[in-house]
């Protein structure tokens, strides 16, 4: 960035720092928007009362961390270093300097409390709002966030379907209607409702408006007319057209003129040449031909009504489910935050809640905003007026909006560009300087994407026009290269990727001091199936970020088998898998010996001597080894966590010796960590759900590999840059889109159109298809943007690889719909012009398992497998600590124990008074107090009378018993409830001696025991008690250093006494 002259948009950049104005900034790839955000943040810091008044919102946690680090770096630089020379650096330095002065003057201590910089994701912002407003958000208390709430969506959906049998008749009727519509397939209905719940962010607000049939049909009419309008615009002069308002006539015409699929004109003779030569008009007519009727059928309408009533109900049920689990997803948090911020008429006064006002909001990646996030911004800025010192600053590049699947709506950016947000007017600014890519790439991108992206912006259709960039960096050779392949030659394409990657790694980077960075970007993970093996073959090391799913790794499968086997002895597949896994490695013949009889579990078979005897000699050794390792774990089952049990078994079996590489050990660790996060109380509540979640795990990137070569999805790469970018697999298509319970769209006039899912067996028609078609077009627009994101990641070189099928003449055919190559075709078709021989594809399905692997049994060579257990820490294990002597009553039950402690407490008191003034009458007067104490100790109402009677009986009888009188009466040097600590034979004891005293004649050590005894043979009982407590009194004597003291046990309830020395 040494050439300031080439920066084409300095004026815009400077303007964006005006802290009094609000802006919306379109910042194309490589335009350095983060720097701009930081500069603005610093500029604002220099003006606010408290740093918390500025809220910056980023799209990812990582981006928040980065922005924060960079702000601090700027502050540190301004504090400790002198003003740099480069113009943009000195600008940052100046701004930071002013911010620092403010910080010092107002005592913010920013540099010490990072948290005062409110730079966070929108989710974190919502969470902080709901945390601060538990009542307004109606959460009551902050729930736990879950990223993947699909299990709870499913639960809520099941609840809704169960309402079919519930007492609420209208609701039951709606559910019945829905089921009927879906061929009574309750499972399918459940899935659809669950999916709908996941997207409730979109429709909750919409359905809140209670759409009625008339307005919906009006919207439908509007759409129909608009479709005709497109054709009318293209209609040639002088050819007769049906009347503009007669949609039916247009539809009839379209059906007459076009083939069924709308791809060709049908009745060529009857159609004017002026019409026929306009292909755009054919396309427009095709759309007309597909238009639905003007009204909902009754069947559609009834289904829609039922769905529209059930949807909010399902959302409410979801909240109940969330509350039950104490969890919530991000959407719920943003809904909570919206509730907390109050209604339009009665906004919550955040000043009261937070004790400061939010005065400035900065939003990065504004293009990824969802509906409720947009609403949140509207509410946060409600009442803001121009010039009141509060500003909103949103930045993003609508050309990079690629998160439709996560509910991001590019239309929101476009609308904000046009209308501002809420009451805030936004001044639009467009950046154009590209600091990232060399001119060769920028030029190619400009030339290509101005053709690929739509010419006209369309907010509702999600169409974004292209905004060109100007390169700051000079052009270099070989900027963009297209590699063409033909007829599904994935292997060749894979080899090429490896070759290009290796060459790019060898090429020096822009900064010669650093190694070149290379990225392979794909649209779907599955596109890598042919590429990663080629890289490994070529010994090119790479880091794959969230690319490789773990679920099918052998190491993980083995652990899963072990988990299942340990949780259920009757899980036959899992047990057979454990016996076949490398740590055991039984042959088919041996497995047949153990497993041929179904009536016993394999675990029983493993311990059956006759069966073991029938095994091969080697098999027997293996089986016994496995049995021994597992029997230890099973004996202790459900003691430790399941994870520990599984890991313990895995280690004991030699699991780590069975993996193929060290990376597998990492995978194992990820699996085990995941197991731990899912299990509860040492068990798995839902095994099937657990297995599904395992399938969603990703392997960690190979941390041993340098990060020069990275493999990731295009989505993941957003915001990153590399010297060389390789985009393979352009010809592959995306996954199919799933049906939804209902679809919705907003018409250009902002009215709402809804369509219920088509009933089972009648796909492909009606309003549903109309809206779906629109969604598909939005998806197509997004593909162009996805390609743009991929292409603009490159600093110096861009490689695009695609594969085209050839027709019988050897010419490349247009790539399949839904592929990136199709989107790119108009730009690159000429690269595929080389004619060639068509390859014939084979049909007998996919690749087979290589013959050598079909019977392969990979296993530990147990005869040679041996290791020495690593040493444990050397330390002196202390004896069991702090034996407390006061647990003696635990066997008699709670009430008795409580009676005992109350009696003890009173005896202590009486003995302290040397029994003076204590009489039966006085004790009886204490009844209310005694009851109070028993209550306080937790004696329940029903037992209170008996318990207090027992206390009184114990106390009065000790007062009236001569032995008791002697014991509690005056004694020399007496101590009550005497607490002593001691160490006997290395064991520490905390003692509490009920009573002891000492005179010239010697010492007495006495404990009270409130045991009761019914029936005969009191003496024997007391003898038993003595035996029981001898050791305890022995310890007392030792601790008091009075080995010769007389020991006594006093039983007030029994008036019993034992003494000995």
């Amino acid at each position: 960035m040494n050439d300031a002259l080439r920066v084409s948009d300095l004026g815009e950049r400077e303007r964006a720092l005006d802290p009094a104005l609000s802006f919306i900034v379109q910042a194309p790839a490589g335009s350095g928007k983060t720097e701009l955000l930081i500069q603005r943040y610093l500029a604002l810091l220099g003006r606010v009362e408290r740093p918390e008044e500025i809220t910056a919102i980023t799209f990812t946690i990582k981006a928040a961390a980065e922005m924060r680090l960079r702000v601090f770096a700027a502050l540190r630089m301004a504090r400790h270093e002198s003003r740099p020379h480069a113009p943009h650096e000195s600008r940052t330095w100046d701004l930071a300097r002013i911010a620092l002065e403010r910080n010092d003057a107002l005592g913010w201590k920013l540099e010490e409390s990072a948290d005062r910089l409110r730079v966070q994701t929108i989710d974190a912002l919502c969470a902080s709002l709901t945390r601060q407003m538990p009542v307004l958000s109606q959460f009551g208390a902050q729930p736990e966030v879950i990223e993947d709430a699909s299990a709870l969506f499913a639960e809520a959906a099941r609840d809704v379907i169960a309402m079919l049998e519930g007492p609420d008749k209208p609701v039951a009727a709606d559910v019945a209607h829905l089921l009927e519509h879906l061929d009574n397939d309750a499972a399918k209905a459940g899935e659809l409702i669950a999916t709908m719940l996941a997207q409730r962010d979109h429709w909750l607000r919409m359905l809140g408006k209670n759409p009625d049939r008339a307005s919906l049909e009006a919207a439908l009419d509007e759409v129909r007319r608009a479709t005709v309008g497109v054709a009318l615009l293209l209609w040639p002069e002088g050819v007769d057209a049906p009347p503009e308002g007669d949609v039916e006539a247009w539809m009839a015409l379209a059906n007459r003129w076009l083939t069924k699929d709308g791809k060709k004109w049908l009745d060529k003779a009857a159609i004017a040449p002026a019409v026929r030569e306009r292909d755009a008009l054919r396309k427009a007519m095709r759309e007309i031909g597909k238009l639905p009727p003007a009204r909902y059928t009754d069947q559609q309408w009834e289904a829609l009504e039922a769905i529209v009533r059930l949807a909010p109900l399902a959302a409410a049920q979801l909240r109940v489910v969330f509350a039950k689990h104490g969890k919530a997803d991000f959407v719920e948090f943003s809904q909570g935050a919206l509730r907390a911020l109050g209604s339009e008429d009665e906004p919550t006064d955040l000043m009261l809640v937070l004790d400061y006002r939010i005065r400035h909001i900065l939003v990065d990646e504004f293009l990824d905003t969802s509906q409720s996030q947009f609403q949140l911004l509207e509410k946060l800025t409600s009442g803001w007026e121009p010039g009141d010192g509060r500003t909103l600053f949103v930045v993003g590049d609508p050309m990079q909006s690629i998160y439709r699947f996560r509910e991001a709506e590019v239309a929101l950016f476009l609308r904000a560009w046009r209308d501002g947000i809420g009451t805030v007017n936004l001044e639009p600014l467009t950046l154009s300087a590209n600091f990232r890519s060399q001119a060769g790439i920028v030029d190619w991108v400009n030339a290509s994407f101005s053709r690929i992206m739509p010419l006209a912006q369309d907010i509702h259709g999600g169409a974004v026009t292209y905004s060109p960039s100007h390169a700051v960096h000079a052009a270099e050779a070989e900027a963009v290269k297209i590699h063409a392949f033909f007829d599904g030659d994935a292997a060749a394409e894979g080899r090429k990727v490896a070759e290009v990657a290796a060459a790019a790694l060898a090429d020096p980077g822009r900064d010669p001091a650093k190694p070149a960075s290379v990225a392979i970007l794909v649209r779907n993970r599955s596109h890598l199936a042919q590429i990663l093996p080629r890289l490994r073959e070529a010994k090119v090391k790479f880091r794959a970020v969230e690319i490789e799913s773990l679920g099918h790794r052998p190491a993980v499968q083995d652990l899963l088998a072990l988990t299942r086997a340990l949780t259920h002895l009757g899980d036959r597949v899992a047990w057979l898998a454990v016996l076949r896994a490398p740590w055991c490695g039984l042959t088919l013949a041996d497995l047949h010996v153990l497993g041929a009889v179904r009536a016993v579990t394999l675990w029983e078979a493993l311990r059956d001597g006759t069966r073991l005897a029938a095994l091969s000699a080697d098999g027997r050794k293996r089986a016994e080894r496995t049995r021994d390792a597992l029997s230890r774990v099973l004996a202790a089952r459900r003691r430790a966590s399941l994870r520990d049990a599984v890991e313990g078994a895995w280690l004991a079996l030699g699991g780590p010796a069975c993996v193929e590489s060290d990376t597998d050990l990492e995978d194992a660790e990820i699996y085990l960590d995941h197991l731990e996060s899912v299990e509860a109380a040492g068990a798995l509540a839902d095994l099937a759900a657990f297995e599904e979640s395992v399938a969603k795990l990703f392997a960690l990137p190979d941390l041993g590999a340098p990060d020069c070569l990275q493999v990731m999805t295009i989505h993941k790469a957003k915001g990153l840059e590399f010297d060389t970018v390789i985009v393979p697999g352009l010809a592959s298509t995306g996954g199919k889109d799933d049906r939804k319970l209902f679809l919705w769209m907003e018409t250009p006039e902002s009215s709402l159109l809804l369509a219920p899912i088509n009933p089972a067996g009648s796909d492909g028609e009606g309003i549903y298809e109309l809206i779906r078609g629109l969604d598909k077009r939005k998806a197509e627009h997004e593909m162009g943007r996805l390609l743009y994101v991929a292409a603009t990641r490159a600093r110096r070189r861009l490689h695009l690889l695609g594969d085209a099928k050839r027709d019988d003449h050897g010419a490349a055919k247009e790539p399949p719909k839904g592929s990136l190559l199709r989107t790119l075709w108009q730009v690159v078709a000429h690269e595929f012009a080389t004619p060639g021989e068509r390859r014939t594809a084979s049909y007998e399905g996919g690749p087979a398992v290589p013959v050598a692997h079909q019977g392969m049994l990979r296993r530990l060579a147990i005869d040679r497998f041996d290791y020495a257990t690593p040493a444990a820490a050397r330390w002196t294990v202390p004896a069991e600590t702090r034996v407390s002597d006061q647990i003696e009553f635990s066997w008699v039950g709670d009430t008795a124990r409580r009676v005992g402690s109350v009696v003890h407490r009173w005896l202590q008191r009486i003995a302290e008074d040397e029994a003076k003034g204590w009489t039966r009458a006085r004790i009886e007067r204490e009844l209310p107090a005694i009851m109070n104490e028993l209550t306080a100790r937790g004696v329940v109402e029903g037992d209170l009378a008996t318990a207090s009677a027992r206390v009184i009986a114990a106390l009065t009888s000790s007062l009236e018993d001569p032995r008791g009188k002697w014991l509690l009466g005056p004694q020399p040097n007496a101590r009550n409830e005497y607490r002593v600590s001691t160490v006997i034979d290395g064991v520490r004891h905390d003692l509490a001696i009920d009573r002891w005293w000492e005179d010239l004649a010697g010492a007495w050590i006495v404990d009270y025991k409130t045991s009761g005894h019914e029936g005969a043979d009191l003496d024997r009982f007391l003898a038993g008690e003595e035996a029981r407590y001898r050791g305890q009194l022995e310890r007392y004597a030792l601790a008091l250093a009075r080995p010769g003291a007389r020991r006594g046990l006093y039983f007030p309830l029994l008036k019993g006494w034992r003494e000995w020395t």
Binding site: A162, E165, E180, L588, R639, A657, W875, A1041
Partner: protein, 909 residues
């Protein structure tokens, strides 16, 4: 007043404590842990003096002192005037009641967590003596709290109850009473924040003659070091290795490790430390002593024993989920769990195929008594007795104490806690569980009678809220959170996790109290400035708390880069080598290094001896799809466990349709009958058939086929059949000559039963028809290893003259025939092989060649099975494997790239 208190240095304090009880010295600490630590230190000092026994010093947390004084008041003439102290559980319940009572004005989703939060605010209000009168511009949330707390306060006042938040104010007026034993000297130890409540209380105790003093540990002069690690895991692991290095020194002394946010990482920290201290502790299987202790417990409900006790109680519900019941059946904590362990596993697997998703004690018992059920007599006996208890007592609302008794009784009958010996932790857990039940019983003081569900839910949430840590030995290494570390001293201290976003802690004002009021009162957490001050003091405390102090932070969390906390970043960064941290072999690494792996060929199982196999043509289908699959399923009976799910699954629905079609054609018999039957009559027949089909399945799935759903399903069956009969009506005349017929067939020596859905006699021969409710293709019969061998097997095995084979696709909006016939135009939708559009049809010239091809293929498949061919050779990768339940057994992932659709991957080949 705090800072002006007379100060004692620790040696002086110990000296005074050594004088014993006569000195009447009491030490109060901010929390139990510090009291414990100080006590321990004192004991060590006494031991070092050569003493064998000494008077136990009086060291307790501030709350403990107040509570003791309150108890003193209970044992004197004040007793009746003193309010009863609510337990935590009771307090929680009263708050929940208050929130519930206000629910119309203040709707919130869950009262329990809100109540917990209220209690925290309530403590804060009293500790900082904040007004509760609506002053200080309360926001909505604060106003809600005012509402709830006034309800709560009223309720407790009426019943003459108090809570620990208010106890100091309850006790203080009576401090003058002789029965309240006040110390001669009261020493504050490590009390960093003296709240106004404490201050006032101390003032009044001082006014009654106690000399109040303050003691501190003198800061140790230490050189602190700072280290940076890659991520959290590495950080904790290095800290653990460091601790081990210090432990193995000559005189280890006390070693402390502070881990912020320990509550959420307890288990992980525990494991990392255990692995470092005793690498084989997991594999060895028994819990030996470990040299460290983690200061945090876990929720009682998380202890397996308690979780299972709660599940047993759940079983008393009129219906509970099968999975819960299954966990009880397999629980080691009930009677007969060891003796019947294997039997119960078999029983459970058996139940899974038969049980409804919801079960009751009665339904379980009757299933358990079925003749084919694996026997587990002890279990059956206990289940039946539990069912009795349920009937006898659990329907009426009762007092909490009665529920407690009822639950205990139920657990006793279940044989809880089982016949396996309890280890020390389990013993303590059991005690704690009993305490919990007793605590639960006392809820009767604040709540009236409750129903079963309310009682059970309350008990469960109490178990969740009770954090419990089995007591451990006195060990040299203490791992603790930030709070617990305050005031403690060590010989070596490591403070981990000090990144800038974690430390200083962000200010967190309480949401229920106006922020202004909190700031005005000086509550440190309420304001960034004071909060920073507090954390700075804590940091200083660490730096002076041991002779060796290490602070650490990690560089990355997931993908985010982190910076060190500004409170420690001035400490010089040391390279890790300077720390003298030992390297210790891990068990995992040792085992991995010892790996010796061999590869052998093993593709053939012993040949089949019993040539007549149970089950139908599925064996051939499996063998065709993948020989290993057939071996696993058909010879080892390898199958996963089933899970009873609510509602009908695709298979059930398919079975209903089959049954429907069978009975419909059973009644109609011929095409003539069909065309001759009037609409009304037909409707009647279909209605009856649908009814019959549903009745047939209801025996097994009563849960899914009752009520309104059954009506809907009946309607669907009728609709489907009507649509289908339209298709049949359009055909030429035919007669149905066989329905659901079974018939043994032999190929390659293997005999199985082939079953057909229906056979029609047409003018030109017989047609075999197979109903399908899903996707099907004629190519499934063609080529090598056919996907659907059933019809060909039947057709060949029948030995008759078959003119056509066809799928009858019965689904809404898609009813039609698809198939192949010998001659054209036998059935609409069924064509001759040369007209068939599937890609495989090109292999066959005509019908005879097709049939001959079938024979060759089927013979080969049968022979393969008979000979024990068990190669892992799925017909199509990955499709064949995608829905196969043997993946973990056949180890396909090891043998071939396996890419399962979305988010799929490839393997390491």
């Amino acid at each position: 007043m705090h800072r002006d208190l007379p100060r004692l240095e620790k040696p002086e304090l110990f000296e005074r404590l050594a004088h014993g009880h006569a000195a009447r010295l009491t030490v109060v600490t901010p929390n139990r842990r510090l009291a414990h630590a100080l006590r321990r230190e004192f004991d060590a000092a006494q031991l070092a003096q050569g003493l064998a026994a000494w008077e136990t010093p009086d060291i307790l947390p501030f709350d403990g002192l107040v509570k003791r004084l309150w108890e003193d008041a209970l044992y004197c003439d004040l007793a009746c005037g003193i309010p009863v102290l609510l337990s935590d559980t009771q307090e929680q319940m009263l708050w929940e009641d208050a929130i519930h009572a206000a629910r119309h004005a203040l709707p919130i989703y869950s009262a329990a967590p809100a109540a917990t939060q209220c209690r925290a605010a309530w403590r804060l209000v009293h500790a900082w003596r904040l007004p509760l009168d609506g002053s200080g511009e309360p926001d909505e949330d604060a106003r809600a709290f005012l509402d709830w707390s006034s309800r709560y306060q009223r309720a407790t006042r009426e019943k003459h109850q108090t809570d620990s938040a208010r106890l100091p104010e309850v006790v203080a007026p009576h401090l003058g009473h002789a029965a309240l034993r006040k110390p001669a000297a009261l020493v504050l130890f490590g009390v960093d924040i003296v709240t106004p409540q404490i201050r006032v209380f101390l003032e009044s105790i001082a006014a009654h003659g106690s000399a109040v003093m303050e003691a501190m540990s003198p800061p140790v002069r230490a050189e602190a070091r700072r280290v940076e690690l890659t991520d959290w895991k590495e950080e904790i692991e290095v800290a653990a290795r460091w601790a081990r290095s210090r432990l193995e020194q000559e005189r280890p002394g006390r070693i402390g490790v502070v881990v912020p946010d320990l509550a959420s990482s307890r288990a992980r920290v525990q494991r990392i430390f255990a692995n470092v201290m005793r690498p084989d502790h997991l594999a060895a299987g028994e819990a030996g002593a470990l040299p460290f202790n983690i200061s945090l417990g876990r929720a009682l409900a998380e202890c397996p024993m308690v979780a299972d006790a709660l599940l047993v109680i759940d079983l008393l519900e009129h219906e509970s989920g099968f999975e819960q019941a299954s966990r009880v059946i397999r629980s080691p904590f009930i009677a007969g769990a060891e003796a019947e362990m294997e039997a119960r596993a078999r029983l459970d697997a058996w139940l899974r195929k038969r049980s409804a998703p919801g079960v009751s004690l009665d339904s379980l018992s009757s299933l358990l008594e079925a003749p084919s059920a694996p026997r587990a007599p002890v279990l059956l006996d206990r289940m039946k007795r539990l069912a009795e208890v349920r009937k006898a007592s659990l329907f009426v609302p009762q007092l909490a104490s009665e529920w407690a008794k009822g639950f205990s009784e139920a657990l006793r009958i279940a044989g809880f806690p089982g016949e396996r010996g309890l280890d020390s932790a389990e013993h303590q857990t059991l005690d704690k569980w009993h305490e919990l039940l007793a605590d639960f019983a006392t809820l009767e003081r604040v709540a009236g009678k409750m129903g079963f569900q309310a009682a059970r839910e309350r008990l469960r949430s109490m178990a969740r809220a009770t954090v419990f840590q089995p007591e451990a030995r006195d060990v040299p290494i203490q791992v603790m959170g930030i709070l617990e570390s305050a005031g403690q001293q060590f010989d070596h201290l490591w403070v981990a996790g000090l990144t800038d976003d974690a430390w200083p802690l962000p200010a967190r004002p309480d949401p229920f109290i106006p922020v202004r009021a909190q700031r005005a009162a000086g509550i440190p957490q309420a304001d960034p400035g004071t909060s920073l001050e507090l954390d700075r003091r804590i940091t200083q405390g660490w730096l002076g708390a041991a002779g060796e102090v290490v602070v650490s932070h990690s560089r990355m969390r997931k993908e985010s880069e982190l910076a060190p906390s500004p409170l420690i970043d001035s400490i010089r960064l040391s390279p890790l080598e300077d720390l003298a941290v030992g390297r210790y072999a891990t068990l995992r690494g040792t085992i991995r290094a010892a790996a010796v792996v061999e590869t052998v060929q093993d593709a053939r199982a012993p040949a089949v001896v019993e040539m007549t196999r149970p089950g139908g043509t599925g064996l051939f289908k499996d063998q065709a799809a993948c020989p290993f699959r057939a071996f696993a399923r058909r010879r080892l009976e390898s199958e996963p466990l089933e899970t009873p799910r609510p509602g009908l699954d695709a298979r059930d629905r398919g079975n209903l349709v089959h049954e429907m079609m069978r009975s419909v054609w059973g009644r109609l018999g011929t095409h003539d009958r069909l065309t001759a039957t009037g609409e009304a009559a037909l409707g009647e027949i279909l209605g009856e058939c649908a009814e019959g089909a549903i009745r047939g399945m209801r025996g097994r799935r009563a849960d899914a086929l009752s009520g309104r759903y059954a009506i809907l399903e009946r309607e669907r069956l009728v609709r489907l059949a009507l649509e289908w009969l339209e298709e049949d009506r359009r055909r030429e005349a035919f007669e149905v000559v066989a329905l659901e017929e079974k018939h043994p067939v032999t190929f390659g020596g293997i005999t199985v039963n082939a079953k057909l859905d229906r056979m029609d006699q047409l003018a030109g021969g017989r047609a075999i028809i197979d109903y399908k409710t899903g996707v099907c293709k004629t190519s499934d019969w063609m080529g090598k290893r056919p996907d659907e061998p059933q019809l060909p097997m039947y057709a060949l095995g029948r030995g008759e003259d078959i003119a056509a084979v066809a799928f009858a696709v019965v689904k809404t909006g898609g009813a039609r025939y698809r198939g192949i016939s010998r001659v054209p135009n036998l059935i609409k939708g069924v064509c001759t092989i040369d007209k068939d559009k599937s890609w495989a049809a090109g292999r066959y010239r005509d019908w005879d060649q097709l049939v001959a091809g079938w024979r060759v293929e089927l013979e080969a498949i049968g022979r393969g099975f008979a000979e024990g061919d068990a190669r892992v050779d799925p017909k199509r990768l990955p499709k064949t494997c995608e829905n196969c339940d043997q993946q973990m057994f056949c180890r396909i992932a090891e043998k071939a790239p396996f890419d399962a659709g979305e988010g799929g991957s490839e393997s390491d080949e």
